[in-house]
């Protein structure tokens, strides 16, 4: 057990060192050059085109820390643990914890522990690899926005374009579903212009497994199998996929719910 503890500490130290190194790579002069004349022209991951207040899309250590705290430590994490703990209480999962206050406390505690473990792992790995974990929709993907911008610039200067920019503003459902999946298994590297290259979402995968194994100290030995931890990791990763889908389809969800709640409809003539 002692050896394992040292192993975890070594991994944490390595991640922290890589994180510090990646922050050093954020060369201020290079960033300043890239930032020149970009006011209202940058679209950060998860941002909106032509936002006048954006001059730098870097996902900073401070932002990462804030996101870790609000998502994994704050009342949001507590509420998640309380609600999902209540669900597990109803299902009596795991069976050896009775439907008692003590059992409920354990169920809430294990979920909170998992959230903290997941957030901490994402924070460390994300910092180490300078990942920008903010989900983006197809239409606000900097890759797509820049393509559109290029097309419009070409049209403005009388050149031909591969596709009508207008036709690209309403992507089909499959394209969007594909993008939502793609955005959940990959992330962008943090860059001042918001257009960092994509790579596998290592921090999310590690975070999911950290969540899966985060319950080891709470569960009894029969629950602590690889299969069970894998299941918990899959459930945890499922929330990331759901978040990506929500980002992609939130305008449609809004439209749908808005139509349901609409008041004062006009009578048809």
């Amino acid at each position: 057990m002692g050896l394992r503890r040292w192993f975890y500490l070594a991994i944490a130290f390595l991640c922290a060192s890589l994180s510090a190194y990646s922050q050093q790579n954020d060369n201020p002069q290079e960033n300043a050059r890239r930032r020149a004349d970009t006011i209202g022209r940058l679209t950060c991951p998860g941002g909106f085109p032509t936002d006048l207040t954006v001059i730098n899309c870097s996902y900073t250590l401070r932002q990462r820390g804030n996101d870790f705290f609000t998502g994994s430590v704050s009342d949001q994490a507590i509420l998640g643990a309380v609600v999902f703990g209540a669900g597990a209480q109803i299902l009596k999962s795991p069976g050896e914890w009775g439907r008692t206050w003590d059992g409920y406390g354990r169920r809430v505690g294990v979920r909170y522990n998992q959230a903290v473990a997941k957030g901490a792992a994402e924070f460390l790995i994300g910092s180490a690899f300078s990942e920008d974990p903010r989900h983006i929709s197809y239409r606000s993907d900097p890759h797509f926005v820049n393509l559109q911008r290029d097309r419009l610039n070409r049209i403005a200067s009388g050149k031909s374009v591969d596709r009508d920019p207008y036709d690209q503003t309403a992507p089909g459902a499959w394209k969007r579903i594909g993008h939502a999946f793609y955005d959940s298994v990959s992330v962008r590297r943090s860059r001042p212009d918001g257009n960092g290259s994509r790579w596998p979402a290592v921090s999310r995968f590690v975070g999911a497994f950290a969540s899966g194994y985060g319950g080891y100290a709470w569960y009894k030995r029969p629950e602590n199998t690889f299969a069970n931890a894998g299941l918990r990791a899959a459930q945890s990763f499922g929330t990331d996929v759901a978040a990506s889908f929500y980002t992609e389809f939130s305008p449609d969800i809004s439209k749908l719910l808005g139509a349901v709640l609409k008041r004062g409809r006009q009578q048809k003539p």
């Binding site: 201020p28 936002d51 001059i55 704050s74 003590d102 505690g109 719910l257 008041r263």
Partner: protein, 472 residues
């Protein structure tokens, strides 16, 4: 039982973390110049510019802060009347704001004076995203749209942020509390401040020419509710003095904009009824109608489309149980289009909607209150030019066309077919391509959209401005 031990800690977390009820802008720092956006590392707030003085007005826009406490009183009170003249004496935030407006109008009779009232989850703490956004709007007006004119912004602040962002769930539950505050704040102090700012702008002219500053009031989210409550009674008091003979009247502001307003439609409905039943019109004589009040909300705004009705659900049930909501609430309609048989008539909408429907929605999301539609042009040929001349004979009447920046898309703002609301209180829902959600409003796209409702630079130079008339 030891597993229950963390619960007291959780309870502590759930009851602390209040954002202090305080003024963030000492009087001597309540006037700041707005420098160009600095190219800083991400997440570093833009520093405030140097203190704004009458001498600096021609160089950069000026931003004045006016803060109100949780009860609606000014944080910096005056014990004496604001002294005449334009010398900044730092007696109060309002005094500073009035004097800088006076100085601006003395130096440039066509200065642009714009006030912004923020909404929920904001305040005047340095680095607040609404302050940064408002600064960029001032820069945009100063450097692009109204070049060569002095621009003064007044940021009206209240305690919109009650709980730290580190408690996101609890922070969202402050909705009810902050709505009650936004209803409480527009009392004598705020209304007085707005009237005096508008009066300072109007009365500071050095001659009797037609030159006058452009005064715009903007409220966002609960700031829309604050502004609506503060302004409508003041405006109504003045317009009620019109005798109905076609006499012209210059209202407090040239344009009042509510963006994603979180006010229930019951607020707007009373003003709409009054405008409709008194046949108010707002235009340059012989020209099309213009908006005096403009309420726009994005159809992608979850906060006003969904959270607001959900938030009003329990009070609605309480009102219903107590019999506090009328089943039929007559809505006055008026559509003054030239050549229209209803040009001088107003009537009640049939069937009358229920009062609960107005309470459970914002004005901009209620089709029966909408005066205009923002529709997207699908025809490739028309979309390419996006010219108003394409629609000169089309019905419904197109007010303007709007090429959406950086998208290749074209939108039209048209009068709504068979509309009830033809008053100077324009109400419309806009596409998420223009404003994507509740908070993202400081964008080139939205400013370009709003610019269509402002006087053109040429109109400003030629003193062409709409006036309010009542023809009975």
């Amino acid at each position: 039982m030891r597993f229950l031990l963390p619960f007291p800690l959780f309870c502590l977390l759930l009851t602390g973390c209040y954002v202090p009820n305080k003024s963030y802008r000492p009087i001597d720092q309540s006037l700041v110049q707005v420098p160009l956006l600095q190219k800083l590392p991400a997440n570093k707030p833009q520093a405030d510019g140097a203190t704004c003085t009458p001498q600096s007005l021609s160089v950069r826009p000026c931003l004045a802060f006016l803060e109100f406490d949780d009860m609606g009183e000014k944080w910096s009170q005056e014990s004496q009347p604001v002294t005449p003249g334009e010398g900044i004496d730092n007696t109060s935030q309002l005094s500073n704001a009035i004097k800088i407006v006076r100085a601006a109008v003395r130096q440039d009779p066509r200065a642009v004076i714009i006030t912004f009232t923020h909404g929920w989850k904001h305040n005047s703490k340095p680095g607040d995203t609404n302050i940064e956004g408002f600064k960029q709007v001032l820069n945009d007006l100063h450097d692009n749209r109204y070049k060569n004119h002095i621009v003064v912004g007044i940021y009206i602040s209240w305690r919109g942020e009650l709980v730290s962002p580190y408690m996101p769930v609890r922070r969202n539950f402050t909705y009810f509390n902050r709505e009650a505050t936004a209803i409480r704040i527009p009392g004598a102090s705020l209304t007085d401040a707005l009237i005096r700012i508008a009066a300072a702008a109007r009365n500071a002219r050095t001659n009797n020419s037609d030159e006058r500053p452009l005064v715009i009031f903007v409220g966002h989210s609960f700031g829309g509710l604050v502004m609506e409550r503060a302004l409508t009674q003041a405006t109504i008091h003045q317009v009620d003095e019109l005798d109905g003979s076609g006499q012209q009247y210059q209202p407090l502001a040239d344009l009042v904009v509510f963006v994603n307003s979180a006010a229930a439609a019951t607020e707007a409905k009373e003003t709409l009824d009054l405008f409709a039943s008194n046949h108010f019109r707002y235009n340059v004589p012989g020209q099309p109608e213009r908006p005096l009040f403009l309420s726009v909300s994005s159809s992608g705004d979850l906060a006003t489309r969904i959270a607001m009705p959900v938030g009003h659900g329990i009070p609605f049930l309480e009102y219903k149980l107590r019999g506090g909501l009328r089943d039929k609430d007559p809505l006055a309609c008026y559509n003054p289009r030239p050549g229209d048989p209803m040009a001088s008539e107003s009537f009640f909408l049939i069937p009358a909607p229920s009062q609960g429907a107005f309470y459970m929605s914002t004005a901009a999301h209620m089709p029966i209150l909408q005066s205009h539609d923002a529709v997207e042009e699908k025809d490739p040929a028309k979309r390419k030019t996006c010219a108003l001349s394409n629609y000169s004979n089309a019905q419904p009447k197109t007010i303007f066309t709007f090429p959406l920046p950086e998208s290749g898309r074209c939108f039209l703002v048209q009068e709504r077919d068979k509309r009830c609301n033809g008053t100077p209180y324009w109400v419309m829902e806009i596409d998420p391509a223009i404003v994507p959600d509740h908070g993202t409003i400081f964008t080139d796209r939205f400013i370009a959209f709003l610019s269509n409702f402002l006087p053109t630079p040429r109109d400003l130079e030629n003193n062409i401005r709409p006036a309010l008339t009542a023809i009975r």
